[in-house]
Symmetry: C2
């Protein structure tokens, strides 16, 4: 089944989403719907899936789309025509994609989709809720405190400041000395009104695992130890999302591997069905902590799977069922009948 990928949108990760979609074009058969910063949607031809289409504004020459029941309406010269969407793929990173907005649109317009459901979105988008949710599943996370404007900070450095929301490393600073605090706060508050403070642990290891539960079984990627270092430009991001042969399985003990897998499955179960997610873990002194849940990983972390197409197909064909809500006006008719109306 050919999926329709939605990307872009009013997010700090708008451009990363464009990279993500361009890379996926070479991995899956897809139709492309670009959401621009105003929320307008355009049907982008596969051949035009290049950075310059978006940066130059040339995408505005593509046919405009709006949501309708079960799909999209494509505007034509004289009239609109209906484009059914049998499977949507949410590839909007950060706000609008991961905060639940696009999800809600798919739900409201009855469009089947791969991506986090509403609760899953909110729980992974807010870093404090992620911790509360993990605690309810007995998955450890680092201790934290919440900072709002004007709060004084009791903890001594070193610590990390993170905007409470946003899905990526945007706005995050390591504060090693109290002289760095004011600037780090300014940076974080530029992106959010609430900041999460976590202890900074020297030498902590990071491991990523992606996967989903579909068709009654787990589809898990290799566990990767991501390479640190900032990704500064479009081309590097593109190369990062495109890598295939360079991905190495992390050298970890079988015990550590099994703990990471167990925590992944606890986090996923009964909440993230319908999505392919990546969980990022910290490990220090043999203790494993959930760092964050990425419910829309870059290019869906295809490079971590041996047969990504099979995983994608399994997921697309076992999406969570929508519960039927009978509306029969029994309540209203009951009184109308009693009155003989």
């Amino acid at each position: 089944m050919k999926a329709t990928v939605f990307f872009g949108a009013r997010s700090f990760e708008h451009e990363v989403s464009i990279v993500s979609a361009i890379v996926l074009r070479d991995v899956l058969a897809l139709d492309f719907v670009f959401i621009d910063k105003m929320g307008e949607m355009y049907a982008i031809d596969s051949a035009n899936m290049q950075a310059k289409t978006f940066a130059s504004g040339a995408y505005k020459n593509a046919p405009k789309l709006t949501f309708t029941h079960g799909g999209l309406l494509q505007k034509g010269l004289l009239k609109s025509h209906f484009v059914p969407v049998s499977l949507a793929l949410n590839l909007v990173h950060g706000a609008e994609g991961e905060d639940g907005k696009l999800t809600a649109l798919f739900e409201f317009f009855h469009i089947p989709y791969i991506g986090p459901r509403l609760e899953a979105s909110i729980l992974s988008y807010n870093k404090e809720l992620t911790k509360l949710y993990a605690a309810s599943k007995d998955v450890p996370t680092l201790p934290y405190s919440i900072i709002r404007r004007g709060d004084s900070i009791a903890e001594p450095p070193p610590f990390i400041l993170k905007p409470l929301h946003l899905g990526s490393s945007i706005g995050i600073s390591v504060v090693k000395d109290s002289k760095e605090l004011d600037y780090a706060l300014d940076v974080a508050f530029e992106f959010d009104d609430t900041i999460l403070l976590e202890p900074f642990k020297q030498g902590i290891k990071e491991y990523n695992l992606a996967g989903c539960h579909a068709g009654g079984e787990w589809h898990l990627s290799i566990i990767e130890e991501p390479q640190k270092g900032e990704i500064l430009d479009f081309e590097k991001k593109y190369l990062d999302f495109s890598r295939r042969d360079s991905v190495q399985k992390a050298q970890i003990s079988p015990e550590l591997e099994s703990t990471i897998i167990k925590y992944f499955q606890k986090i996923y179960a009964n909440c993230f069905e319908g999505a392919l997610i990546r969980c990022d873990f910290f490990v220090q002194d043999d203790c494993v902590y959930l760092n964050e849940i990425n419910p829309v990983p870059g290019s869906l972390a295809h490079y971590l799977f041996t047969d990504f197409r099979a995983v994608f197909a399994a997921l697309g064909s076992s999406l969570p069922k929508v519960r039927n809500v009978p509306i029969q006006y029994l309540f209203i008719n009951q009184i109308r009948n009693a009155k003989g109306k």
Copy 2:
């Protein structure tokens, strides 16, 4: 400012939402948008705001609407015309209204609205998340366990079973004897895949407080001790939502009143701004527990306020600001410039 009320939708409380909107017609100046069970929207004339309009299907003669940037498109014979919405009011109870879907639509289409934001929706719609959130704010709730199909239940009766989601008393049973268990589980599982179990406490008292924070100050209702007993039909629900003179302030100590108000404010702050909510509390042995957060109370609990119109106006004119997301293609242009393209 005249608000546009959205009501109905694909929810078990579809009909309660209709009652809610009919009652509010006599309280506020409103325009009416009915969302039917298929998700189609109709502009309902104030004079047609009667139960029979909806039960008979007569609403389908009203002009059809669709969402667009900043408002609605109303379909006409030859062409659609734009109906701006300067202030929307979310009056959909239960699913689609309280689970975040309608909220996400308002956000996506940049329509200012009174109602819970996305996180606030998810945290109040899922009863376990409500408890986790309350714990993070040091507000007590009753202990609980989570039941899924096939789980064995260790707790002895009496206890209460509640569908994990849904905003009202639908699907809730008190199990006093283990003989009643199977039936109670069947009822609850009809509405949800996950059930919350709480101890049943004989003689526990219930108190409700509604309010909002707007224009820099708190607007709180009286504290009411709700009258128990099932509301069985449309007319009784209508009378319940319409009551004005019959509402009595609960006879409670000043200490209890101040604890209830303190807990309300803790729950509301930094999450429910933009909404008028009602919190329902339990009290036993001088301990106060949050029972549930109702982020879209029936007829917005207008009957609990001495000057509801003033509260509504204050709320409508101090909605949370949407953070601007600059999208300037710096990332893409950086590499394009470097390449001399």
